[in-house]
Symmetry: C2
Subunit: 238 residues, 2 copies
Amino acid sequence: MSYDLWYWPSIQGRGEFVRLFMAAAGIEWRDCAREKDAEALLDDMDERKEKGFAPYAPPYLVDGDFAIAQVAHIVTWLSEKHDIGAADEADKLHLIQLQLDITDIVEEVHSVHHPVASSLYYDDQKDAAEQAAEKFREERIPKYFDHFEQALGVKDGGPFSLGSTWSHFDTSLFQLVEGLEYAFPRRMAAIKDDYPMIFACRDAVALIDGLAAYVASEDRIPFNEDGIFRHYPELDAA
Amino acid sequence: MSYDLWYWPSIQGRGEFVRLFMAAAGIEWRDCAREKDAEALLDDMDERKEKGFAPYAPPYLVDGDFAIAQVAHIVTWLSEKHDIGAADEADKLHLIQLQLDITDIVEEVHSVHHPVASSLYYDDQKDAAEQAAEKFREERIPKYFDHFEQALGVKDGGPFSLGSTWSHFDTSLFQLVEGLEYAFPRRMAAIKDDYPMIFACRDAVALIDGLAAYVASEDRIPFNEDGIFRHYPELDAA
Protein backbone atom coordinates (compact mmCIF):
# COMPACT_ATOMS: atom_id res chain seq x y z
CA MET A 1 0.00 0.00 0.00
CA SER A 2 1.01 3.60 -0.46
CA TYR A 3 0.03 6.84 1.29
CA ASP A 4 -0.48 10.29 -0.14
CA LEU A 5 1.75 12.82 1.60
CA TRP A 6 0.86 16.49 1.24
CA TYR A 7 3.49 19.06 2.06
CA TRP A 8 5.03 22.19 0.57
CA PRO A 9 6.98 21.08 -2.49
CA SER A 10 10.19 23.11 -2.21
CA ILE A 11 11.37 22.57 1.37
CA GLN A 12 12.14 19.69 3.71
CA GLY A 13 10.28 21.42 6.51
CA ARG A 14 8.12 19.45 8.90
CA GLY A 15 7.22 17.03 6.11
CA GLU A 16 10.76 15.66 6.19
CA PHE A 17 10.25 14.07 9.62
CA VAL A 18 7.41 12.03 8.15
CA ARG A 19 9.37 11.17 4.99
CA LEU A 20 12.41 9.95 6.93
CA PHE A 21 10.29 7.76 9.16
CA MET A 22 8.49 6.22 6.18
CA ALA A 23 11.76 5.72 4.29
CA ALA A 24 13.32 3.93 7.29
CA ALA A 25 10.21 1.78 7.72
CA GLY A 26 9.98 0.86 4.04
CA ILE A 27 6.57 2.52 3.77
CA GLU A 28 5.74 3.86 0.32
CA TRP A 29 4.29 7.28 -0.30
CA ARG A 30 3.39 9.65 -3.10
CA ASP A 31 4.62 13.21 -2.55
CA CYS A 32 1.53 14.84 -4.02
CA ALA A 33 2.43 18.53 -4.02
CA ARG A 34 5.81 17.72 -5.57
CA GLU A 35 4.10 15.82 -8.37
CA LYS A 36 1.78 18.81 -8.81
CA ASP A 37 2.45 22.14 -7.05
CA ALA A 38 1.74 24.22 -3.95
CA GLU A 39 -1.56 25.37 -5.46
CA ALA A 40 -2.75 21.76 -5.56
CA LEU A 41 -1.90 21.45 -1.87
CA LEU A 42 -3.97 24.52 -1.02
CA ASP A 43 -6.86 23.21 -3.12
CA ASP A 44 -6.69 19.83 -1.42
CA MET A 45 -6.77 21.46 2.02
CA ASP A 46 -9.78 23.56 1.03
CA GLU A 47 -11.64 20.51 -0.24
CA ARG A 48 -11.05 18.67 3.02
CA LYS A 49 -12.76 21.47 4.93
CA GLU A 50 -15.93 20.72 3.01
CA LYS A 51 -15.80 17.06 3.96
CA GLY A 52 -15.07 16.89 7.69
CA PHE A 53 -12.19 17.26 10.13
CA ALA A 54 -9.39 18.93 8.21
CA PRO A 55 -5.69 19.60 8.79
CA TYR A 56 -4.75 22.99 10.18
CA ALA A 57 -1.55 22.87 8.16
CA PRO A 58 0.60 20.47 6.18
CA PRO A 59 2.18 17.95 6.45
CA TYR A 60 -0.69 15.51 6.38
CA LEU A 61 -0.94 11.94 5.23
CA VAL A 62 -3.92 10.50 3.41
CA ASP A 63 -5.06 6.89 3.64
CA GLY A 64 -8.25 6.46 1.65
CA ASP A 65 -10.88 8.74 3.19
CA PHE A 66 -8.80 9.39 6.27
CA ALA A 67 -6.28 12.22 6.61
CA ILE A 68 -3.99 12.78 9.58
CA ALA A 69 -1.92 15.88 10.38
CA GLN A 70 0.69 16.97 12.93
CA VAL A 71 4.10 15.31 12.62
CA ALA A 72 4.17 13.66 16.05
CA HIS A 73 0.67 12.33 15.49
CA ILE A 74 1.43 11.00 12.00
CA VAL A 75 4.58 9.09 12.96
CA THR A 76 2.92 7.70 16.09
CA TRP A 77 -0.05 6.50 14.07
CA LEU A 78 2.19 4.95 11.40
CA SER A 79 4.29 3.23 14.08
CA GLU A 80 1.21 1.60 15.55
CA LYS A 81 -0.18 0.62 12.17
CA HIS A 82 3.07 -0.84 10.82
CA ASP A 83 4.29 -2.20 14.15
CA ILE A 84 7.52 -0.20 14.24
CA GLY A 85 9.40 0.57 17.44
CA ALA A 86 8.20 -0.19 20.94
CA ALA A 87 6.13 -3.21 21.94
CA ASP A 88 5.84 -2.19 25.58
CA GLU A 89 3.01 0.26 26.32
CA ALA A 90 5.03 2.52 28.66
CA ASP A 91 7.86 2.69 26.11
CA LYS A 92 5.37 3.66 23.40
CA LEU A 93 4.07 6.48 25.56
CA HIS A 94 7.57 7.70 26.36
CA LEU A 95 8.50 7.75 22.69
CA ILE A 96 5.45 9.86 21.87
CA GLN A 97 6.45 12.23 24.66
CA LEU A 98 9.98 12.50 23.25
CA GLN A 99 8.58 13.06 19.76
CA LEU A 100 6.51 15.95 21.16
CA ASP A 101 9.66 17.37 22.73
CA ILE A 102 11.18 17.33 19.24
CA THR A 103 8.09 19.15 17.93
CA ASP A 104 8.80 21.84 20.53
CA ILE A 105 12.44 22.37 19.64
CA VAL A 106 11.62 22.36 15.93
CA GLU A 107 9.17 25.17 16.57
CA GLU A 108 11.90 27.02 18.48
CA VAL A 109 14.38 26.56 15.62
CA HIS A 110 11.92 28.22 13.27
CA SER A 111 11.27 31.05 15.71
CA VAL A 112 15.00 31.84 15.84
CA HIS A 113 14.92 33.29 12.32
CA HIS A 114 11.30 34.43 12.62
CA PRO A 115 10.95 35.65 16.21
CA VAL A 116 8.39 38.36 15.52
CA ALA A 117 6.14 36.75 12.93
CA SER A 118 6.38 33.97 10.37
CA SER A 119 4.63 36.25 7.89
CA LEU A 120 7.41 38.89 7.99
CA TYR A 121 10.67 38.61 6.06
CA TYR A 122 13.80 37.54 7.90
CA ASP A 123 15.48 40.84 7.02
CA ASP A 124 12.68 42.72 8.77
CA GLN A 125 13.28 40.93 12.07
CA LYS A 126 17.02 40.38 11.89
CA ASP A 127 17.95 42.23 15.09
CA ALA A 128 15.49 40.21 17.14
CA ALA A 129 16.68 37.07 15.32
CA GLU A 130 20.29 37.69 16.33
CA GLN A 131 19.27 38.02 19.98
CA ALA A 132 17.02 34.97 19.72
CA ALA A 133 19.80 32.94 18.09
CA GLU A 134 22.23 33.66 20.91
CA LYS A 135 19.72 32.43 23.50
CA PHE A 136 18.83 29.43 21.37
CA ARG A 137 22.46 28.40 20.89
CA GLU A 138 23.51 28.94 24.47
CA GLU A 139 20.43 27.95 26.47
CA ARG A 140 17.93 26.01 24.44
CA ILE A 141 20.13 23.58 22.46
CA PRO A 142 21.93 22.40 25.63
CA LYS A 143 18.67 22.09 27.55
CA TYR A 144 17.01 19.92 24.91
CA PHE A 145 20.20 17.99 24.16
CA ASP A 146 20.75 17.18 27.84
CA HIS A 147 17.22 15.82 27.83
CA PHE A 148 17.65 13.70 24.70
CA GLU A 149 21.06 12.43 25.85
CA GLN A 150 19.46 11.36 29.14
CA ALA A 151 16.65 9.59 27.27
CA LEU A 152 19.11 7.70 25.06
CA GLY A 153 20.85 6.40 28.19
CA VAL A 154 17.73 4.81 29.69
CA LYS A 155 17.92 1.51 27.81
CA ASP A 156 21.19 -0.37 27.87
CA GLY A 157 23.37 -0.70 24.85
CA GLY A 158 22.03 1.85 22.39
CA PRO A 159 22.40 3.18 19.83
CA PHE A 160 18.66 3.94 19.71
CA SER A 161 16.30 5.10 22.41
CA LEU A 162 14.96 1.56 22.75
CA GLY A 163 18.42 -0.02 22.49
CA SER A 164 18.92 -1.95 19.26
CA THR A 165 15.42 -1.23 17.84
CA TRP A 166 14.90 2.10 16.12
CA SER A 167 11.70 4.14 16.47
CA HIS A 168 10.10 7.34 15.20
CA PHE A 169 11.94 9.27 17.89
CA ASP A 170 15.31 8.22 16.49
CA THR A 171 14.52 9.17 12.90
CA SER A 172 13.26 12.57 14.10
CA LEU A 173 16.36 13.05 16.25
CA PHE A 174 18.45 12.29 13.15
CA GLN A 175 16.72 15.09 11.26
CA LEU A 176 16.99 17.48 14.18
CA VAL A 177 20.76 16.93 14.42
CA GLU A 178 21.22 17.13 10.65
CA GLY A 179 19.22 20.33 10.54
CA LEU A 180 21.02 21.95 13.44
CA GLU A 181 24.39 21.04 11.93
CA TYR A 182 23.28 22.73 8.71
CA ALA A 183 21.96 25.84 10.46
CA PHE A 184 24.48 26.19 13.30
CA PRO A 185 27.66 24.35 12.21
CA ARG A 186 29.96 26.22 14.55
CA ARG A 187 27.77 25.72 17.59
CA MET A 188 27.15 22.07 16.84
CA ALA A 189 30.86 21.36 16.35
CA ALA A 190 31.54 23.01 19.71
CA ILE A 191 29.08 20.85 21.67
CA LYS A 192 29.40 17.56 19.79
CA ASP A 193 31.67 15.88 22.33
CA ASP A 194 29.20 16.60 25.11
CA TYR A 195 26.52 14.44 23.53
CA PRO A 196 28.05 11.12 22.45
CA MET A 197 24.77 9.20 22.52
CA ILE A 198 22.86 11.71 20.42
CA PHE A 199 25.52 11.68 17.72
CA ALA A 200 25.87 7.89 17.88
CA CYS A 201 22.10 7.63 17.43
CA ARG A 202 22.24 10.02 14.46
CA ASP A 203 25.02 7.94 12.89
CA ALA A 204 23.11 4.70 13.46
CA VAL A 205 19.92 6.09 11.96
CA ALA A 206 21.90 7.18 8.91
CA LEU A 207 22.69 3.49 8.29
CA ILE A 208 19.08 2.24 8.26
CA ASP A 209 18.77 0.89 4.70
CA GLY A 210 15.61 2.61 3.49
CA LEU A 211 16.52 5.92 5.10
CA ALA A 212 20.09 5.81 3.75
CA ALA A 213 18.75 5.21 0.23
CA TYR A 214 16.26 8.06 0.55
CA VAL A 215 18.81 10.52 1.93
CA ALA A 216 21.22 9.69 -0.94
CA SER A 217 18.49 10.11 -3.56
CA GLU A 218 17.23 13.15 -5.38
CA ASP A 219 13.95 12.77 -3.50
CA ARG A 220 15.61 14.45 -0.51
CA ILE A 221 15.34 18.19 -1.08
CA PRO A 222 18.53 19.87 0.17
CA PHE A 223 18.33 22.11 3.24
CA ASN A 224 17.68 25.67 2.11
CA GLU A 225 16.86 29.12 3.44
CA ASP A 226 13.10 28.72 2.97
CA GLY A 227 12.83 25.81 5.40
CA ILE A 228 12.92 25.42 9.16
CA PHE A 229 16.68 24.90 9.47
CA ARG A 230 18.33 27.90 7.77
CA HIS A 231 22.00 28.70 7.64
CA TYR A 232 22.43 32.40 8.27
CA PRO A 233 26.10 32.74 9.29
CA GLU A 234 25.32 35.78 11.45
CA LEU A 235 23.09 33.59 13.65
CA ASP A 236 25.78 31.01 14.35
CA ALA A 237 28.72 31.05 16.76
CA ALA A 238 30.65 28.44 18.71
CA MET B 1 -7.78 6.65 42.46
CA SER B 2 -5.86 9.91 42.39
CA TYR B 3 -2.96 11.18 40.29
CA ASP B 4 -0.05 13.36 41.27
CA LEU B 5 0.13 16.46 39.07
CA TRP B 6 3.40 18.37 39.01
CA TYR B 7 3.39 21.91 37.71
CA TRP B 8 4.65 25.36 38.68
CA PRO B 9 2.66 26.39 41.75
CA SER B 10 1.88 30.05 41.01
CA ILE B 11 0.48 30.06 37.47
CA GLN B 12 -2.26 28.34 35.49
CA GLY B 13 0.13 27.80 32.61
CA ARG B 14 0.07 24.60 30.63
CA GLY B 15 -0.91 22.67 33.75
CA GLU B 16 -4.35 24.27 33.65
CA PHE B 17 -5.33 22.37 30.50
CA VAL B 18 -4.74 19.13 32.39
CA ARG B 19 -6.53 20.37 35.52
CA LEU B 20 -9.63 21.46 33.59
CA PHE B 21 -9.86 18.14 31.79
CA MET B 22 -9.55 16.20 35.04
CA ALA B 23 -12.08 18.45 36.79
CA ALA B 24 -14.59 17.95 33.98
CA ALA B 25 -14.03 14.19 34.01
CA GLY B 26 -14.32 13.88 37.79
CA ILE B 27 -10.74 12.60 38.02
CA GLU B 28 -9.01 13.38 41.32
CA TRP B 29 -5.51 14.75 41.57
CA ARG B 30 -3.03 16.10 44.07
CA ASP B 31 -1.34 19.33 42.98
CA CYS B 32 2.06 18.42 44.40
CA ALA B 33 4.08 21.59 43.85
CA ARG B 34 1.24 23.66 45.29
CA GLU B 35 1.22 21.50 48.42
CA LYS B 36 5.00 21.95 48.59
CA ASP B 37 6.83 24.46 46.38
CA ALA B 38 8.65 24.97 43.07
CA GLU B 39 11.84 23.58 44.59
CA ALA B 40 10.07 20.28 45.25
CA LEU B 41 9.05 20.18 41.59
CA LEU B 42 12.63 20.68 40.43
CA ASP B 43 13.82 17.98 42.86
CA ASP B 44 11.18 15.57 41.62
CA MET B 45 12.21 16.18 38.00
CA ASP B 46 15.87 15.57 38.86
CA GLU B 47 15.03 12.33 40.63
CA ARG B 48 13.11 11.08 37.61
CA LYS B 49 16.21 11.50 35.44
CA GLU B 50 17.98 8.96 37.63
CA LYS B 51 15.20 6.42 37.17
CA GLY B 52 14.35 6.34 33.46
CA PHE B 53 12.49 8.33 30.83
CA ALA B 54 11.87 11.75 32.36
CA PRO B 55 9.75 14.79 31.50
CA TYR B 56 11.46 17.60 29.61
CA ALA B 57 9.26 20.08 31.44
CA PRO B 58 6.15 20.24 33.60
CA PRO B 59 3.25 19.63 33.58
CA TYR B 60 3.48 15.90 34.13
CA LEU B 61 1.15 13.44 35.75
CA VAL B 62 2.28 10.55 37.92
CA ASP B 63 0.46 7.24 38.24
CA GLY B 64 2.49 4.92 40.46
CA ASP B 65 5.86 4.38 38.77
CA PHE B 66 4.72 5.92 35.51
CA ALA B 67 4.98 9.61 34.65
CA ILE B 68 3.62 11.25 31.51
CA ALA B 69 4.36 14.75 30.19
CA GLN B 70 3.20 17.03 27.37
CA VAL B 71 -0.34 18.38 27.70
CA ALA B 72 -1.78 16.86 24.53
CA HIS B 73 -0.27 13.50 25.45
CA ILE B 74 -1.55 13.61 29.04
CA VAL B 75 -5.16 14.43 28.17
CA THR B 76 -5.19 11.88 25.36
CA TRP B 77 -3.87 9.20 27.69
CA LEU B 78 -6.39 10.10 30.39
CA SER B 79 -9.24 10.08 27.85
CA GLU B 80 -8.36 6.56 26.80
CA LYS B 81 -7.90 5.33 30.35
CA HIS B 82 -11.12 6.85 31.68
CA ASP B 83 -13.13 6.37 28.51
CA ILE B 84 -13.95 10.05 27.98
CA GLY B 85 -14.88 11.50 24.62
CA ALA B 86 -14.79 9.67 21.30
CA ALA B 87 -15.58 5.98 20.85
CA ASP B 88 -14.84 6.00 17.11
CA GLU B 89 -11.16 5.52 16.21
CA ALA B 90 -11.07 8.20 13.49
CA ASP B 91 -12.77 10.68 15.83
CA LYS B 92 -10.20 9.92 18.51
CA LEU B 93 -7.38 10.64 16.09
CA HIS B 94 -8.99 13.87 14.92
CA LEU B 95 -9.38 15.05 18.50
CA ILE B 96 -5.69 14.42 19.20
CA GLN B 97 -4.86 16.39 16.06
CA LEU B 98 -7.02 19.29 17.23
CA GLN B 99 -5.46 19.13 20.68
CA LEU B 100 -2.03 19.42 19.04
CA ASP B 101 -3.27 22.46 17.12
CA ILE B 102 -4.16 23.98 20.50
CA THR B 103 -0.65 23.18 21.73
CA ASP B 104 0.65 25.18 18.75
CA ILE B 105 -1.45 28.28 19.35
CA VAL B 106 -0.68 28.17 23.09
CA GLU B 107 3.02 28.25 22.21
CA GLU B 108 2.33 31.22 19.93
CA VAL B 109 0.45 33.06 22.67
CA HIS B 110 3.47 32.74 24.92
CA SER B 111 5.83 33.89 22.17
CA VAL B 112 3.81 37.09 21.73
CA HIS B 113 5.09 38.49 25.03
CA HIS B 114 8.42 36.64 24.78
CA PRO B 115 9.31 36.75 21.08
CA VAL B 116 13.09 36.85 21.54
CA ALA B 117 13.64 34.46 24.45
CA SER B 118 11.60 33.09 27.34
CA SER B 119 14.61 33.71 29.59
CA LEU B 120 14.57 37.49 28.99
CA TYR B 121 12.21 39.91 30.75
CA TYR B 122 9.18 41.17 28.88
CA ASP B 123 10.43 44.75 29.23
CA ASP B 124 13.63 43.81 27.40
CA GLN B 125 11.72 42.57 24.34
CA LYS B 126 8.75 44.90 24.38
CA ASP B 127 9.25 46.41 20.92
CA ALA B 128 9.39 42.99 19.31
CA ALA B 129 6.40 41.95 21.44
CA GLU B 130 4.30 44.83 20.15
CA GLN B 131 5.03 43.83 16.56
CA ALA B 132 4.41 40.17 17.35
CA ALA B 133 1.12 41.00 19.08
CA GLU B 134 -0.19 42.84 16.05
CA LYS B 135 0.50 39.87 13.79
CA PHE B 136 -0.89 37.47 16.35
CA ARG B 137 -4.13 39.43 16.77
CA GLU B 138 -4.68 40.08 13.08
CA GLU B 139 -3.37 36.93 11.41
CA ARG B 140 -2.91 34.07 13.83
CA ILE B 141 -6.06 34.26 15.97
CA PRO B 142 -8.34 34.33 12.89
CA LYS B 143 -6.42 31.51 11.21
CA TYR B 144 -6.67 29.20 14.21
CA PHE B 145 -10.22 30.27 15.02
CA ASP B 146 -11.39 29.62 11.45
CA HIS B 147 -9.93 26.15 11.84
CA PHE B 148 -11.58 25.43 15.20
CA GLU B 149 -14.91 26.86 14.03
CA GLN B 150 -14.77 24.55 11.02
CA ALA B 151 -13.98 21.57 13.27
CA LEU B 152 -16.93 22.34 15.55
CA GLY B 153 -19.23 22.28 12.54
CA VAL B 154 -18.30 18.76 11.43
CA LYS B 155 -20.70 16.89 13.72
CA ASP B 156 -24.31 17.97 13.72
CA GLY B 157 -25.89 19.71 16.63
CA GLY B 158 -22.98 20.80 18.80
CA PRO B 159 -22.16 22.32 21.16
CA PHE B 160 -19.01 20.17 21.38
CA SER B 161 -16.68 18.89 18.68
CA LEU B 162 -18.32 15.47 18.89
CA GLY B 163 -21.85 16.92 19.17
CA SER B 164 -23.39 16.39 22.59
CA THR B 165 -20.37 14.55 24.09
CA TRP B 166 -17.52 16.66 25.38
CA SER B 167 -13.86 15.72 24.94
CA HIS B 168 -10.37 16.92 25.87
CA PHE B 169 -10.41 19.20 22.84
CA ASP B 170 -13.43 21.09 24.18
CA THR B 171 -11.98 21.65 27.66
CA SER B 172 -8.75 22.91 26.10
CA LEU B 173 -10.67 25.18 23.73
CA PHE B 174 -12.49 26.57 26.77
CA GLN B 175 -9.17 27.49 28.39
CA LEU B 176 -7.82 28.94 25.15
CA VAL B 177 -10.82 31.23 24.78
CA GLU B 178 -10.79 32.21 28.47
CA GLY B 179 -7.10 32.97 28.26
CA LEU B 180 -7.34 34.98 25.07
CA GLU B 181 -10.25 36.97 26.50
CA TYR B 182 -8.09 37.77 29.51
CA ALA B 183 -5.04 38.70 27.45
CA PHE B 184 -6.69 40.38 24.45
CA PRO B 185 -10.15 41.54 25.60
CA ARG B 186 -10.55 44.18 22.89
CA ARG B 187 -9.55 41.86 20.08
CA MET B 188 -11.70 39.02 21.34
CA ALA B 189 -14.76 41.26 21.70
CA ALA B 190 -14.23 42.44 18.13
CA ILE B 191 -14.19 38.93 16.62
CA LYS B 192 -16.67 37.17 18.89
CA ASP B 193 -19.59 37.32 16.47
CA ASP B 194 -17.51 35.66 13.75
CA TYR B 195 -17.12 32.46 15.76
CA PRO B 196 -20.50 31.45 17.19
CA MET B 197 -19.63 27.76 17.56
CA ILE B 198 -16.36 28.39 19.40
CA PHE B 199 -18.08 30.63 21.93
CA ALA B 200 -21.06 28.28 22.27
CA CYS B 201 -18.62 25.45 22.95
CA ARG B 202 -16.82 27.56 25.55
CA ASP B 203 -20.14 28.36 27.24
CA ALA B 204 -21.21 24.71 27.21
CA VAL B 205 -17.89 23.55 28.70
CA ALA B 206 -18.31 26.12 31.48
CA LEU B 207 -21.48 24.26 32.51
CA ILE B 208 -19.87 20.82 32.93
CA ASP B 209 -20.42 20.13 36.64
CA GLY B 210 -16.93 19.22 37.78
CA LEU B 211 -15.28 21.91 35.71
CA ALA B 212 -17.74 24.57 36.86
CA ALA B 213 -17.06 23.67 40.49
CA TYR B 214 -13.29 23.78 39.93
CA VAL B 215 -13.38 27.12 38.10
CA ALA B 216 -15.48 28.65 40.90
CA SER B 217 -13.14 27.32 43.60
CA GLU B 218 -9.97 28.75 45.07
CA ASP B 219 -8.08 25.89 43.45
CA ARG B 220 -8.19 27.81 40.18
CA ILE B 221 -5.27 30.25 40.25
CA PRO B 222 -6.36 33.53 38.61
CA PHE B 223 -4.80 34.51 35.30
CA ASN B 224 -1.71 36.62 35.98
CA GLU B 225 1.26 38.21 34.26
CA ASP B 226 3.60 35.31 34.98
CA GLY B 227 1.56 32.81 32.99
CA ILE B 228 1.00 32.10 29.31
CA PHE B 229 -1.98 34.41 28.86
CA ARG B 230 -0.88 37.86 30.04
CA HIS B 231 -2.84 41.06 29.86
CA TYR B 232 -0.51 43.82 28.71
CA PRO B 233 -2.88 46.55 27.46
CA GLU B 234 -0.27 47.78 24.97
CA LEU B 235 -0.43 44.40 23.20
CA ASP B 236 -4.20 44.48 22.70
CA ALA B 237 -6.35 46.29 20.13
CA ALA B 238 -9.67 45.65 18.46
